[in-house]
C-alpha cells in the first residue's frame, strides 16, 4: 500500500465489516434471495469478507462478482483488468442484490454496475454496501451500508483493502494507476 495518511487499520476494517454484515442481515430479514455482488476489482474482497461474516452470524448467501468495464461512461480511460471476468452465482431475476464496492466516490461505477446487472436479469431490489463513502457524488446515488464516511478533497485518493484505509495525495498515484478514486 502506498504511503499516506492511515485512517483505518486492519482491526477497524474487520469491525466495520462485521457491523455492515449485521446491518445487511437486519435489513433483509431471513436473508432470503440475498446475493452479494462485488464490483471488480476493488469490491470483490469486501464482498467475500461480508459473505464470510454473514455466514458466521446468520446463514450462507451466494457471493459473486461483476465486471463493469464494458458499461462505463468513460470506456477506454480505464483498461480492462485481466482475470476480472464477471461471475454471478445465482439467478438475478427476483434476487435482492447487495452491490459491494470498496470506495463510493462519483457514483459512476455504481451506475455502470446497475446497467450491467440489468443485462443479467431483474432483481427485486438492489442495495449498496461500501467500505468508504468519500463524497463528491456526480449522480443521485446513495449507499445503504457504509463502513466509514470519510470527507476528502478532490486532490486526494483513497486506497482500501483488508489492512486498512489510507488517504494519499492523488499526484502520487495518478501516474501509477491512471486516476484517483
Amino acid at each position: 500500500m502506498t504511503e499516506g495518511k492511515r485512517v483505518l487499520g486492519p482491526d477497524d476494517v474487520r469491525r466495520a465489516t462485521t457491523r455492515m454484515a449485521h446491518e445487511i442481515i437486519e435489513r433483509n430479514r431471513g436473508l432470503e434471495r440475498v446475493v452479494l455482488v462485488g464490483l471488480q476489482r476493488g469490491g470483490v474482497w469486501l464482498a467475500d469478507s461480508l459473505g464470510e461474516e454473514i455466514a458466521r452470524i446468520g446463514q450462507p448467501v451466494p457471493v459473486g462478482s461483476l465486471d463493469i468495464s464494458l458499461y462505463r461512461d468513460d470506456i477506454g480511460r480505464r483498461p480492462v483488468v485481466p482475470g476480472s471476468v464477471s461471475s454471478l452465482p445465482s439467478e438475478i431475476d427476483g434476487a435482492r442484490v447487495v452491490l459491494v464496492d470498496d470506495v463510493l466516490y462519483t457514483g459512476r461505477s455504481v451506475k455502470a454496475a446497475l446497467d450491467a446487472l440489468n443485462d443479467y436479469g431483474r432483481p427485486d431490489s438492489v442495495q449498496l454496501a461500501v467500505m468508504v463513502d468519500r463524497g463528491h457524488r456526480e449522480l443521485p446515488i446513495r449507499p445503504d451500508f457504509v463502513g466509514k464516511n470519510l470527507p476528502t478533497s478532490l486532490g486526494e485518493s483513497v486506497e482500501v483493502d483488508r489492512d486498512g484505509v489510507v488517504i494519499v495525495d492523488a499526484a502520487e498515484t495518478s501516474a501509477r494507476d491512471g486516476g484517483s478514486r
Binding site: G76, P82, D115
Partner: protein, 322 residues
C-alpha cells in the same frame, strides 16, 4: 493520435496477444449470457468490406460488432460500385466519409489492408488478404487452444507442440497462426506435401504425418483447396487423403488430450475422413463460437478508447506497428 490497426501479427507483440486473450475471456462471458450484448461501442461504426467470398468470417465480425452495440455496414463486392470500375481508394474514401471507425477487410491480394490503412484515418482489421495474413483467425485459435487445454488441466504455450497439416504455402491461416504461436513460445511443425511448403520456411516441416502424430498436442487441419487437387502439386484427392487426412485409424492413435482443430469450412473426405463429432478432442465448433469473442476483443481494443493516453491497448503498443 493516429488510428491503430490489426493487419498482421506484426501489429501485436507477445504481450499484446496475451492481453487480447484475456480480453477475449471477458467477451466470452458476455456471449454466455441470456442477453449477449453490452453497450461498450455505442455510436461506433464498423464497415465490413469483403472483396472475396466469406460466410463465417463476415458473419462472425458482424455479430461481434453488434454484441458490442456498434453499428455495422456491410459491402459485398458483388453488389457494389467496385464492379462499375470505382477504384479501391475511392470506395474506401467514400465509405469513410459516411463516418466509419473501423474497416474489416478481406481481399484476394496480399497487402491490401496495409494500403488501405495509408488512405484513411479509420482503424483497419485484416480479415484475410491473399496468402498472407488472417490475424483474427490466429487469435481465436490461440484462445481456443488456451481455453480447451485449461479445461483439460494443461497451461501455457511454452511446451505446446502444434502440427499444422496441409497446404501451408497458400494458407494465410497457417502463416498468422505460426507467427503467433512462435511469438508465444510454442513449437510448430508444418506437415504436408513438399510442394505445398512455403519457399521461406516459417517452421520445421515434414511430409510424414504418421511419424509426427505421436508428438503433437494439437493437430490443426487446413482446408485443402479443391482447385489445387488434380494439378501438378497434388495428383489426386485419394493420394492426399491417404497421406495427410485425419482418418479413423490416425484418430485412434491420438492421445486423449490432443486437440483437433480446423478453420472451416471442412472438405469432408479430403483432409478429414472421420466425423469430428465422434472425436473427443475436436474443438472445431468451439473455434466458431470463440471467433465472435476474439473479434469482439479486437474491436473493443481498437475502438473502445476515447482517451488512450491512460491505459494500455493490446494492439500497436508492443509490435512493429507504424
Amino acid at each position: 493520435m493516429s488510428a491503430r490497426h490489426l493487419r498482421g501479427i506484426d501489429d501485436v507483440g507477445a504481450d499484446g496477444l496475451l492481453r487480447l486473450l484475456d480480453l477475449t475471456d471477458h467477451m466470452a462471458e458476455v456471449g454466455r449470457r441470456a442477453n449477449p450484448k453490452v453497450p461498450a461501442l455505442r455510436g461506433r461504426t464498423v464497415c465490413n468490406l469483403f472483396f472475396e467470398d466469406s460466410t463465417r468470417t463476415r458473419m462472425s465480425f458482424d455479430t461481434a460488432a453488434k454484441r458490442l452495440s456498434a453499428d455495422t455496414m456491410t459491402l459485398a463486392v458483388g453488389s457494389s460500385s467496385v464492379n462499375k470500375g470505382e477504384s479501391l481508394r475511392d470506395t474506401v474514401e467514400t465509405l469513410e466519409a459516411m463516418g466509419v471507425d473501423a474497416f474489416v477487410i478481406r481481399h484476394r491480394s496480399s497487402g491490401v489492408p496495409w494500403r488501405i490503412s495509408e488512405w484513411c484515418t479509420a482503424s483497419v482489421i485484416n480479415a484475410g488478404d491473399g496468402w498472407h495474413q488472417h490475424p483474427t483467425q490466429a487469435l481465436l485459435d490461440l484462445y481456443t487452444i488456451r481455453a480447451e487445454r485449461a479445461a483439460r488441466g494443461a497451461e501455457g504455450f511454452e511446451n505446446l507442440r502444434v502440427g499444422i497439416v496441409g497446404d501451408i504455402r497458400h494458407s494465410r491461416v497457417a502463416r498468422s497462426l505460426t507467427e503467433a504461436l512462435v511469438l508465444l513460445g510454442a513449437s510448430v511443425l508444418h506437415i504436408g506435401p513438399r510442394t505445398l511448403m512455403p519457399p521461406t520456411p516459417l517452421a520445421p516441416s515434414t511430409d510424414d504425418l504418421d511419424a509426427a502424430l505421436a508428438d503433437l498436442d494439437v493437430v490443426y487441419l487446413l482446408r485443402m483447396q479443391l482447385e489445387r487437387i488434380d494439378s501438378a502439386v497434388v495428383p489426386t484427392g485419394e493420394e492426399y487423403s491417404r497421406r495427410f487426412a485425419l482418418t479413423p485409424e490416425r484418430a485412434k492413435r491420438l492421445g486423449e488430450n490432443v486437440l483437433v482443430m480446423h478453420p472451416g469450412p471442412m472438405n469432408r473426405g479430403v483432409e478429414i475422413t472421420v466425423d469430428p463429432a465422434h472425436l473427443p478432442g475436436s474443438v472445431i465448433t468451439q473455434q466458431v463460437t470463440n471467433g465472435i469473442a476474439a473479434r469482439m476483443a479486437v474491436l473493443f481494443d481498437l475502438l473502445g478508447g476515447v482517451d488512450l493516453d491512460v491505459g494500455s491497448p493490446a494492439i500497436g503498443s508492443g509490435g512493429a506497428a507504424s
